[in-house]
Symmetry: C2
Subunit: 268 residues, 2 copies
């Protein structure tokens, strides 16, 4: 909490403004969380977070503007949908292929929320039967378990997925097999998204997608062209994030502005 608040003060200082001039703040966090109550329910990739009312805690420590929480991938979708690669699209999916694999679904111009506000966790759609491909979420066969950077690195036995990609490029068969399996998982996910959700665009961000588009966006495009229903396949483009590493921060600012002004139905 202290680090978050210090970061906010640093940003206010850098913008040469003061806390009293700030009407609202956006807070982007991993999920599942409830954006309406501002509570992080549990996190897969950060230890110790369970039922944490993080929006209220940061708001109190910040001592100023109202703080609006949402999931990092939801904030990213708001950013891409408002000023990025999904601008103008009413039906799109945001995907991040990074340390983990996450997502958010926009349908008919609205964020898909679901019964308990946790919808959109496309990285935990199981797309394979391998019981030994365990996921940090407790399940197996998730897209994340095959294709996330951390999982690729762990499966190969190194610290960083960039090593696995480099080894595969140098002809290492075990690295190549892991990457082929990750590509198949992303292909299954892409085909499933097109058939089940029929988006106009699939915007793909995250560090792995950014550095390895040939092993992420490309196999998704090929799988859609070869395997998805023709009508939704023709309608769907797989495109890179336009906002890069700051996508969730940009989305958080836009979300805070909209929610503070009483709007935000688009993504609420």
């Amino acid at each position: 909490m202290a680090a978050l608040v210090a970061s906010a003060h640093a940003a206010i200082g850098a913008a040469k403004t003061t806390l009293t001039e700030i009407a609202a703040a956006g807070l982007s966090a991993p999920g599942p969380l409830d954006h309406t109550t501002g509570v992080i329910l549990v996190t897969q990739n950060i230890a110790g977070f369970k039922d944490v009312p993080i929006a209220a805690l940061v708001e109190r420590k910040l001592g100023g503007p109202k703080v609006f929480l949402d999931r990092d991938t939801v904030m990213a979708a708001i950013g891409e949908g408002t000023v990025g690669a999904a601008k103008g699209a009413r039906d799109f999916v945001y995907l991040t292929v990074s340390t983990g694999v996450g997502g958010a679904i926009v349908t008919g111009g609205k964020m898909m929320r679901g019964a308990t506000n946790t919808a959109g966790e496309l990285g935990h759609f199981p797309v394979g039967f391998d019981r030994d491909v365990r996921c940090r979420c407790g399940s197996f066969g998730c897209v994340e378990a095959y294709a996330a950077g951390r999982n690729l690195a762990e499966a190969y036995g190194v610290d960083d997925a960039t090593i696995v990609y480099a080894k595969a490029a140098a002809g290492d068969a075990r690295a190549a097999a892991l990457i082929a399996r990750a590509e198949l998982a992303l292909g299954n996910l892409a085909v499933g998204i097109v058939n089940a959700l029929n988006p106009e665009r699939i915007v793909v961000g995250g560090s792995v997608a950014e550095h390895e588009p040939g092993h992420t966006l490309e196999p998704m495009r090929r799988a859609i062209a070869e395997r998805a229903f023709k009508v939704p396949a023709t309608a769907a483009s797989v495109i890179p994030s336009a906002l890069g590493a700051d996508v969730s921060i940009i989305g958080a600012a836009l979300a805070a502005r909209d929610r503070a002004s009483g709007g935000g139905q688009w993504f609420l």
Copy 2:
């Protein structure tokens, strides 16, 4: 077309009414189709249907009321959502496990349509990597390819899936292995639906689900309890269809009434 129109006339006769008393008719068909134009784009399980303006054709031959087309699974979801097992739920999924596997998604009280009105084809979400498990849609690894009645029967080499279930119950290892794989596919789908779509209910209809709940609804429930994120898993119930084999017909009547009266935004 002639059979459809004859069926309509028989229903009008059975109801002791006349064509002039009928304000609107609903037409339920397999997809993908476009409900706004009344055109079947293509069908996976009926030969010869491609870009067929079936609503206009039936309307002309019937010579009376306006005909409103929608996908069989969408009509089923409208039926279950209005007077069936999903009544009162704003976020639910309808699934049919029958000759094929199909679905429809309702989110925030509205039918999810997507960019080209083909959303909801959950039976063609790939949940496995087996390239030899071919689907009639042209892809591989689809839920339908593992778990649909026709596919189970074909994989075992018989005409009817009931034989495969009977063989497995009698101790046949090959039949049992096919059914176990179908259960795993349905489990993957159920976990993915809960994590990605966060529904309050998953209503499961279709002849296979009706006759074999222990091999369809039960493994879905177990997979959700064991493998899905806790918050959406706790919120989601897997329940049988309340309207049985007539679910799409009941939904079609309700859809026609609503669309003819200028309403129907709920499911449009």
